[in-house]
Amino acid sequence: MNAALGHSGVLLSLAASVMGVVVIAYGLARSRPALARTGRIYAALVLLGAIVATVAMERALITHDFSLAFVAANNSRSTPLLYTITGMWSALAGSILLWGLILAGYIAAMVWRFRRQGADPLVAWATLVTLVVAAFFFGLMAGPADPFRTVAGAVPANGLGPNVLLQDNALVAFHPPILYLGFVGFTIPFAFAIASLITGRIGEGWQLATRRWTLFAWAFLTVGIVLGAWWSYQVLGWGGFWAWDPVENASFLPWLCATAYLHSVLVQERRGLLRVWNLSLVIATFSLTILGTFLTRSGVIASVHAFSDSDIGPLLLGFFGVVMATGVGLIAWRGDRLRSPGGIDSVLSREGAFLVNNLLFVAFAFVVLLGTVFPLLYEAFRGQQVTVGAPYFNAMTLPIGLALLLLMSIGPALPWRKTTTSTLRDRLAVPAWVGAIVIVACVAGGVRGLGPLVAFGLGGFAAAANVRQLVLSARGAHRSGAGVWRGLVGRANGGMVVHLGVVVIAVALAAATSFGHRSEVTLRPGQVASSDGHRITFEGLTQIRTPARTATEAIVLVDGRGPLLPALSQFGANTEEVGTPAIDSSLEDDVYLTVDALPVKANGPVTIGVTVQPLVVWLWGGGLLLVLGSALAAVPGKRRRPTDPVSAPVPAVETGDGSSGSGDATGASRPVLRRARPVVESGESGESGDDKPAQEPVPAGSP
């Protein structure tokens, strides 16, 4: 019953997406907009099919219907309800179903959002592209990755239960769906990018219209990655949160491209530049999500995430190839003809800063991709195995990370078009001193090490610079009567908060990785040991036996606080024993406890692993700031009118030496700018509700 229901749902979605593609293509080829508009109906059908299939799968899981092979392999009667529900995405076929469901949701939302422009060929092309992607994923589910495959032979009385590592923490309910909301979300901007290239209409605002979709997907991907790090920290027992694991890298690569895109699209919006580059970034982001899906599911690179034993690897790789070839081919065909006129006036400008930003992010992505793929390359050419591990990635990405921190400080203070170093110096004097004071304070406090000190100093600099922007923006909003809160919402201000989150995370990373220390203490019951400034008291061992979990727990007190219960646990029956850590967190540092060795004889000593890492909690706090900033950025600011001036007006300059923020590129005589009221430098002109003083006309040359 569940199998039949599920199969019908999958087939409905597959048929609807294929039919949708055919009908829209026909409508476009014959210029019959009415046909093209029917894409809406097919999108709705795809969503319906996906919902039916999901309901069928969850029903099968909750009722422990072991006639489905997937349920038999990933669920058991003793699995708690939460992990039964999340079991849908704890293995390969179900995770594709989740992908399909979220994709169907996004397509339906897109079609709804642009329903008034449904007849526009560009929207029709975008819908077509999304339906092609949907057809691929539902096609996978109809064949090689069938989640509703029935068991061959007799129906087992009980199932195997989910992977033991997936039963330890409730985060399994959040991390995959949120991550997928991020990954899958990039399909929509990708579809519009392809549609723009095909129709040749990239001078219009479609990319900007979908920017909010990209921000939405980016926010979820960011949260998904942070949650993954948190989960890894809580569950895996090694005390770390980012291992540069190939699958972690695979999720990080699209994030890097999407972040680069979110910045460079601002240049497109303001100056109309970098249009083709932005399209390339969007296409690259989506391609990398497919590549990531392939790496996770093909077993090509061994990883703690790997869903092994699947046949869909070659299909995913083929799809990646098709996506890449289509995107790159379209850019090669159209790219040069569609390039924007105009250019960058000066590197010392916000455009220049965004260009450097993109360069750094692309370099970052290159390093991560190279490091991930190099072992395969080396083995293919030399036949030997080599490991490219965390030390490589840390060493290579540290300079890029520091450069990005520096850029985060300078960028928001740079005006558009061009500026002088004196302007920059005025604006950044205070933040720079903050950074210097941070370094001095750290050195005085006993912190040693060039890398971390530079990171802390740059962190202080960047934090102060971004806070400065927020303060200016809030002040400007307040003065113009719109309310202080207005100065804190909107794209630019949300962006400043996101930057603050990144700074906090960067500082936390620098502290935790440079000053973390792992040691072991061997204690009998009642004994106390001292480790890295903390008192570890071992009280005794207890045995836990619940239907879901059998464990030997060590009762430990840290500095008298507790009890903390690191353990060796077994989830379900006949499964591997895994170490489950316990963590004592404070704002200063985390004490991470694992049971390394149980006593050989009764009442013998137990060996407890103690890892002390400073500022780990700041990582998760920074993650919260990222979420907050993304939410703030989504609030619509006062829309900037096309005729609003490009940057804040500056005092009248009679000599025309071009040292004003809104100088132009021609050598023509410059008019004198008169101020109608005092200049307030706002965070982003026009965004915070500041009224602009009237200006004399400037020669055409600035948009």
Partner: protein, 157 residues
């Protein structure tokens, strides 16, 4: 002034060499660069797997005997192969993984600079007609509706 303060502070901070490393610290430093053979990508220092414990034990023994980090690494490589080290060696063909990113960065930077330079030189300023000036004055004076053009067809974001 600021620069002086920062440089001095960093100089003090970076030079804190501290007392010579203890055996435990040396062992930790070596362990952090050795891969745990039965885990996925984490170091021997971070893992409590049996293979990691065994390697840590051997490393500790050898450090106590006075062997250097490279001697210990060589021993481990003689058992597990070069993939036991987390950091690819900077010699032989693996040097490419270290060299390619900086080279690529320099090439990209040079390419960017070249493209910008050329575009700046080849881009002639657009001539401004009286009509254009009147248009702009119109728009600024009354914040009139934006001129007809591609930017007007944008659907509301």
């Amino acid at each position: 002034m600021l620069v002086v303060v920062v440089v001095v502070a960093l100089g003090v901070g970076a030079s804190g060499g501290g007392p010579p490393l203890t055996v435990a610290q040396r062992v930790d430093a070596i362990d952090a660069l050795v891969r745990c053979p039965s885990c996925d990508g984490i170091s021997v220092a971070d893992s409590s797997a049996s293979t990691a414990v065994a390697i840590r034990h051997v490393v500790t023994t050898r450090v106590r005997q006075g062997q250097s980090a490279s001697q210990i690494d060589t021993f481990l490589v003689s058992r597990y192969g070069p993939s036991i080290l987390l950091r690819p060696p900077v010699q032989g063909w693996t040097v490419w993984v270290w060299v390619l990113p900086p080279v690529a960065l320099v090439v990209a930077l040079a390419g960017l600079v070249t493209v910008l330079w050329r575009r700046r030189r080849h881009r002639a300023p657009a001539p401004v007609s009286a009509e254009d000036r009147a248009l702009v004055a119109d728009a600024l004076a009354g914040r009139a509706r934006a001129v007809a053009g591609p930017t007007a067809a944008v659907p509301a974001p």
